[in-house]
Subunit: 438 residues, 3 copies
Amino acid sequence: MNDPDRAGKEMHALVERLHPICRSMTGDGVRRTLEIIGESIPLDVHEVPTGTQVLDWTVPQEWNIRDAYVKDASGRRVIDFAETPLHVVGYSTPVEATMPLSQLREHLHTLPDQPGLVPYRTGYYAANWGFCLSEDTLRELQDGEYEVRIDATLADGHLTYAEHVVPGELDDEVIIVCHTCHPALANETLAGIAVAVQLAQALAESRPRHTYRFVFAPGTIGSITWLARNRNRVDRIKHGFVLACAGDPGRLTYKRSRRGDTLIDRAAAHVLSTREHELLDFTPYGYDERQFCSPGFNLPVGLLTRSPNEAYPEYHTSADDPDLVTPEAMADTLAAVREIVEVLEGNRTYLNLQPYGEPQLGKRGLYRSPALHKDNKQHQMAILWILNYSDGDHSLLDIAERSAIPFTALVEAARALSEGGLLDEASRQPSQSHGERA
Amino acid sequence: MNDPDRAGKEMHALVERLHPICRSMTGDGVRRTLEIIGESIPLDVHEVPTGTQVLDWTVPQEWNIRDAYVKDASGRRVIDFAETPLHVVGYSTPVEATMPLSQLREHLHTLPDQPGLVPYRTGYYAANWGFCLSEDTLRELQDGEYEVRIDATLADGHLTYAEHVVPGELDDEVIIVCHTCHPALANETLAGIAVAVQLAQALAESRPRHTYRFVFAPGTIGSITWLARNRNRVDRIKHGFVLACAGDPGRLTYKRSRRGDTLIDRAAAHVLSTREHELLDFTPYGYDERQFCSPGFNLPVGLLTRSPNEAYPEYHTSADDPDLVTPEAMADTLAAVREIVEVLEGNRTYLNLQPYGEPQLGKRGLYRSPALHKDNKQHQMAILWILNYSDGDHSLLDIAERSAIPFTALVEAARALSEGGLLDEASRQPSQSHGERA
Amino acid sequence: MNDPDRAGKEMHALVERLHPICRSMTGDGVRRTLEIIGESIPLDVHEVPTGTQVLDWTVPQEWNIRDAYVKDASGRRVIDFAETPLHVVGYSTPVEATMPLSQLREHLHTLPDQPGLVPYRTGYYAANWGFCLSEDTLRELQDGEYEVRIDATLADGHLTYAEHVVPGELDDEVIIVCHTCHPALANETLAGIAVAVQLAQALAESRPRHTYRFVFAPGTIGSITWLARNRNRVDRIKHGFVLACAGDPGRLTYKRSRRGDTLIDRAAAHVLSTREHELLDFTPYGYDERQFCSPGFNLPVGLLTRSPNEAYPEYHTSADDPDLVTPEAMADTLAAVREIVEVLEGNRTYLNLQPYGEPQLGKRGLYRSPALHKDNKQHQMAILWILNYSDGDHSLLDIAERSAIPFTALVEAARALSEGGLLDEASRQPSQSHGERA
């Protein structure tokens, strides 16, 4: 699982396979998506009936679509759902009618500034219908009568979401959330799912300290449903992040949780600091971090993306296809996510057992002059930093932040110092690390 | 009163009318100035006798001047008080003499670097006399005898200042201070007075929450006198600012109070953030904020100017005349001051009544997708920010600072959310807002 | 002592005199160095026997060297200790042998990137021997047999260090530490010693408030030995700094103590702020501040250098000779150090005795308008700043930091205000000044 080439190819293959499926807030497209994910990691699939009260919301009716088209007078399908599910506005009500172009136009959505692309639109709670098409296609339509058909049903049913849990030593949980509700958006929706699947597989090979919970659910209503059904156990969530827009070639972007300085925020900032990246403060607009960071829950859950939502030109258009997503970018996202997990798992606070003056490293085989042994310099510096700051008040992450030494190098140095009898763990409660403020 | 064109013209007319009057620390010029202000807003005029002890100071003698000139041998007035009161050094002792130019020179003040301008000078506590003139005029003076006359009196009398109060729901006061002691300085002295008059008129039309107290007094000794006579009630002053240099075309400048992070400081910074502006930390040099921010009082009183004192070339010269001051600049100062007042009046801390997850805005008619409805985006974002941060710990101003959304847009969104049943006031004590530290 | 030219020349002469001596961690070279320093300031010399346990370390054997060379087949000394002590690796074991160049090479150290320079190397705890030479010299060596001799002894003896104390009014101590262990490194080792000697002489002329303790000791083991022997009295150390690399033409650099915001850190930052300079946060790599700032001691001890260790090309080479060190640079270091001492000595917290409004300065002869008397502006501003911030919570250094007025100008203004009856000392405990946080 540590071969980034292989992982990148596997992730891209998954994105390609999931891409054509028509997903929405509910319905069989979501179920089919979860079936395919379930081939890689076992999923616990939940079906929540229409009408269930979830926090301030109600689970909506289930929407399913079989076919949809607009035919011109010659019988040619000028807009065809079979081509891409983006062509139909999500949650469109069924329609079967013939109408002139002038009337049809009220139901057509284009992107005049990106005339070659089909937009993504939904009308979840609108009781209306519509088609999305490119501005170029629209311009070619001649006046005349058009046959319009949307063969869909909106009826009582279920909202579907799934969980995958990697059990750890502790009940303390790390939650990773991917939305599943968007049709045919490769980067926005599917790349994050693919990265999450690989991360889950990698975690399964170890016995992590934290329990890792992966949630695959429709955006907003899915997280709200999950939170409603898990309200009594949300205090187990010690860290978490939402994964989206995870495969485009842009730089990694981390948006802090509402609390802003929790361990996940600091771990992500430290890991990203060695890459071209961007850090954003919390804003109440984006993905499902909005729900986890609503003031009542206020959980330490951030958002990891590459290009953020609305910040890349292909966002919410037909150009967000598997060509936008690269194996290399997804492998880089996966690597960052795994490094973040390493910090969550490995952060400890130690005590220097010889705190008066520097201990004599040479007699313990721990010293090679950093001035002379350039190749060893980072390791030797890591040793000095850990000895100096291991006063019970500074965790390894604190030291990583101050020293700009990668966390993994500090873990290695701490191991050497522990083996040399110079270091002991100050605390077994790594979640309550120094610097984390509620 | 909301027509900025009309207000700008009214303010400029007031500046022009007040400009020729010879004001000083005391005397009839101040009284005449207050009479004219009193035509627009009712004033409570106070006369404090010479010799009254005020804090560490003593009210000085009153100075009045009727005429002053320097005549050359031909009897021509080469320096004439009737032309501009700047020609006489303030608080000059009376003089009636004939003397050669060489002796007269010791009493003449010019600006060699600005040879066309007459400087402004005073000698309040000096017991001397002098004339101010342009360097150009000085250079034209021929050797010979000059007749010198200053027909002035320095005698026991009064220090004159005035107050105008707009009563509010609360005893909590906002104090606005303008100095009245400078002759013929349009921007430095008079523009602030004109803005204050308009603000007072606008406040009178509403029933404000705070009580607004306008003080028109000579600089330094006037504020010291006011503070001495109101020492037992200064704790009512919850916010305040000094207004000066309020009409030149430069950008707005706010100098923070000594405490630096009080509500007035934050309100001014927020309002100015949408304009080209400058923020300055407190320094103990400037206008009457020095007295209000002396360590014994330490009141939340800042200074609002356009170009600050000493920072524009016309400062304290005859070029600080009504041409330097524009109706547009004064209207902009007035607008900023009114927005600051809106923050002081409107800052509230709310509680989101549905804090677990985002409430469903759609069913309450409060949702229009910010991604699709660009024109509505600020309002929708304001709704999301208020919902997320209304946890009892963040006031609207806190949210304005974090979100960079204008305060007025947040007020409007808070009203919509309150009407939708999603928001309630957390506290009725707006002065003790989060973020204000003593 | 206040003549910087004379002081600069004296310091340079001392550097030149000390430069040829072969110093190491122990031995007669250190003793000879201390003898010469003792000609300028009386020293208390300590001899600590080999084998003494000092914190986590043991005092090592004493190393002394009389002669060392490498002779080629013709009997010519191609490497000669008499030329510079840098030619022999410190703590080399004795050797007397003949060997081919190929075998000798394993004991030769050069700087390939700086082919004309001889490196400085030690092998304190290595039980090996070696020579240092320039890469140019090495390249000229012909194959063949070489006679190798190091006439040195490594045997039980003593570690030697010295103290010089300038007694003050208080037991509170300022510690100044110079390392004495490096042979023939003019800037790295000797310039700091020369500056310290001048500072001690200057302090002796006054009766300082603090007691000043100068420690001349070998790096690392010397400070560890001092700390071990003074462990019960280290709490007397209220401020301190290590002096090294004190004479090159580079800008002054101050590295903060581990605590980072102690009075010495702030004093040094304030003094350096008027010069081209660099401030560095603490890192656990450098000079003896590492020992004083180990977590068990955590003393307020920084490091003052010009170019920091490793940051100038002559560092630890034969080019770090008296030509690198200039009288001007050392005089500048001395001036900065004396200004820092002035802050430590002169920092006080005052109370404005007329805190309500500004006191009337004119009647006390303390006022000259800063707008009119430009030459007096700094003094008048210093008066206003001190009056405004002397509320018992702000020391003169706090005011210096806020106002950017030099500390000495504030001291002068405070004296004028005290004489004018407007100021009194708030506290007689200057070490516990506001802003110093543990």
